[in-house]
Amino acid sequence: MEISIPAELVFAIAVALFCISLYYYGRVLKRLLAIIRRPSVIWTLPIAGSILLALGALFHFIPLAIYPQLDPSRTDQLMMICQNRTMESSFIFLAGLISILAGWTYTRWTSR
């Protein structure tokens, strides 16, 4: 399987930027919760989401070393690729889910 290292670096930078964005959203949420005088820890959820996103990216990069010398007869390699891809998608999914949960909870609290 062919991979492009520069393209993967672009992905890594993009994920890092989204992690920083989620961190900022967490800080913003903390301030907004102080404004509405509702002490809560939901502001930590987007920050936790950013950590999960970074972990997801980590699992994206682990199998990149295998792709160039992938031997179809070695099922252990295939399973490792598959497991890492499953972990990557699960972590990205969880990152999105818990960040939405934080935003949705705040929206519900501020809606009549």
Binding site: F11, I13, M79
Partner: protein
Amino acid sequence: MFKLLLYDSEYLWFVTVTNLVSVAGSVLLWVTCVLFGLIARKYELVLRKKTNWQFMIFAPSGILFFAAIQIWAYSSQVKMNVVQSWIAYACFLASGILSLMGAMRFKQVVTPAKKPAAAPSAAPASAPAK
């Protein structure tokens, strides 16, 4: 290749379900950014401070292109090829840059301005006159 080498149950879990979760994760990330854009809109309406919420809602659109390319790639193979990767990751990067700009702007707006330090001449003036 994966279809031939994996059992049906393994293929279902490690390829089909994983691909669906991957696309769903991208869409959820987009929804998160849009949701914070809507929160910024509400903040602007209530406190009359410009948040550029329209920009925050538009910024993550690249994630949808990323998700669309993922769907297109995964419908025919397990992994994106090099061309698909370049296009998808470039869209993802553009979204990342724009979303970060939007988040930084919103953070700047909600952060209270620091009060200027009291002028040194103010202290003696408040002291009782002899």
